[in-house]
Symmetry: C2
DNA sequence: CAAAGAAATGAATACGTAACCATTGAAGAG
DNA sequence: CTCTTCAATGGTTACGTATTCATTTCTTTG
């Protein structure tokens, strides 16, 4: 492996000068620069990023701990995050984390001395939160948040759940189901709370069988759908906690030869890019500004890294219903 | 920052012993291990991956240069690649590369001294290919391949294009269009060749206006679609070079109030996960084994890294038509 | 023309780890 | 009891860079 010392020898200068040519060429006389550059080309020299990181204590790398891409929400956020970070000169280490392998992911990120961590996957009372704070390692969560209520970007999840239920109630539905996720996650928790609150505000009694908190796996969602549809009084409307769940439900419905929205109405939350696709046209609740949460978060994270400002980020985007073709008034 | 030297001092041993406790604890007496571990816990010591990489010349990091995630093909492959690599103990640096920023992506990967590179985005006669070979840096391409015809995993693209056209011909279509991508990319090139060959084999004359090689952007595909549909004799069947293009075409059609497959038939290539979704049911051509190309590629890459075997990987998966609901016989 | 200051370069060092070689002490063989 | 072997540990160095400080050379100015 050819190092800056090799280049120095070849060019007849000191290693220091080679380093200067790479980083602060203004401090080096023109002919020297040319000489060194020639040697660099000839020897095919490529600086070693690890050596640099070691001495500078800066890696230009960010760890992204994302949810799985089969959820289109994470497709949108991952794209936004990686592209913005790359534009700003940061590499991104991506991991798709299920809640089990979380600790493994944390340590991998920390060992690698990343400059910052951006993640969706954090539990409400995850102990890692304090660790990061103690380590003075910039980090931010998007979509989910920690009970400490700091360093997050989210949509107004309570309001989203509320609007979701209200939309169905306004359409005259009375048999309204909730298909959500684990309540240990702030997102699902708050959306469900909003849903409940809307039902209560409209003096609407909620059947216990109409509420299922899945583990968000396709399999679990399908079995939830089947269980509800086999009830004597099956739901006519499904409020899904995410667009991903909504799309799974619609898939399930179509495989049972049910037509959406004629037979059942489905509404999601997130307003994922895919939801506006011609074939899908999912009615959903999403940010009014239509700003990508991942984008908002990575902007803030990079600000934190570069300004070293400790200002505490708390962003909650307002939401509205995007009325498309998967919900319909009951006749 | 607390280093192994600090731990050593705190535990009253040498730095060497601390290193041994971390890596080869069998060589250290039990009480010593315990003492050191206690210090590690107390001081909150975390080893520095860069220092390790520097001395070992091994980073446990792989660079993934993927196409953009709005193409569902790359959603599937990225998931497979990242998860498998993580399972095997490798971190993955992901970049979503457009063909312009390719060189930037290369150098970022090389500077970071990754253990290997896995990429989709390579042009047929990309000079980077030889560079990697000269550097003795393990790498593999998936989906696309280089003219050197080495280190790749692909489906039988020629056959895929052939079957795509044949499918439409068998359904009785005569006005068959091709919507593809840049011919500088092996994938598009070979698929188009296959398409042409099928047309020729069936003595079918191809109209020039029925062939458009887009830049694969949504905008470009839409304008291609509009251009063709405004022809006096517009196509009744679209062979799309990828599922992503096919789904865009279907989206365009629906926005012009055309019904697929009643008004126009559309077939894709890739058999992306999303294509079997209940709402989409895209007819497409894909690998018979239904193995994810990204998975196949990352397996091979890690073998190359760990065995240091120079065996030249060439995998071409056979294909078949997955007949779903977006194509229909002409009456 | 001398003094002072600025520009250009080099020598030495630190970053944190793993690996190599050296040393110590204990156990076993003859 | 001595010699050999082995287990356990420590001292030192290398990895490749950026940085600090020192030195040399050039330029400016009174």
């Amino acid at each position: 492996m050819v190092s800056s010392k090799d280049v120095a020898k070849h060019a007849g200068v000191s290693q220091t000068t080679v380093s200067r040519v790479m980083n602060t060429p203004d401090l080096v006389k023109k002919p020297t620069v040319d000489k060194v550059m020639a040697s660099i080309d000839e020897l095919n020299y490529i600086p070693n990023g690890h050596a640099r990181s070691l001495v500078q204590n800066k890696t230009n790398t960010i760890a992204l701990l994302s949810g799985p891409l089969h959820n289109p929400f994470f497709v949108d956020t991952t794209t936004a995050i990686v592209n913005y970070a790359n534009d700003k000169g940061y590499r991104v280490n991506v991991q798709f984390v299920n809640d089990q392998k979380l600790n493994e992911a944390y340590t991998s990120a920390v060992e690698n001395k990343v400059d910052g961590i951006i993640m969706s996957c954090i539990l409400i009372d995850d102990p890692i939160f304090e660790k990061f704070e103690r380590m003075d390692l910039p980090f931010i969560t998007y979509n989910r948040k920690h009970k400490m209520n700091k360093h997050f970007v989210e949509i107004d999840n309570f309001e989203a759940g509320y609007l979701s239920a209200k939309h169905m109630l306004d359409l005259g539905h009375t048999r309204i189901a909730w298909v959500g996720g684990p309540l240990t996650v702030s997102t699902f928790n708050n959306r469900y709370e909003g849903f409940l609150h809307a039902m209560k505000d409209h003096h609407h009694q909620l059947l216990e069988e109409y509420v299922i908190h899945t583990d968000t796996s396709k399999h679990d969602i399908t079995s939830a759908f089947k269980r509800m549809m086999s009830l004597e009084q099956s739901p006519t409307a499904f409020c899904a906690a995410t667009d991903s769940i909504a799309m799974n439900l619609i898939d399930d419905a179509s495989k049972e030869n049910l037509i959406v929205p004629q037979d059942v109405s489905v509404i999601g939350i997130d307003n994922v890019d895919l939801s506006s696709h011609g074939l899908i046209q999912l009615t959903t609740v999403g940010s009014i500004s239509e700003q990508n949460l991942g984008y908002l978060a990575i902007c803030e994270l990079i600000k934190m890294i570069e300004n070293k400002k400790n200002s505490c980020v708390k962003i909650t985007e307002s939401v509205k219903v995007f009325n498309r073709n998967t919900t319909k008034a009951i006749q």
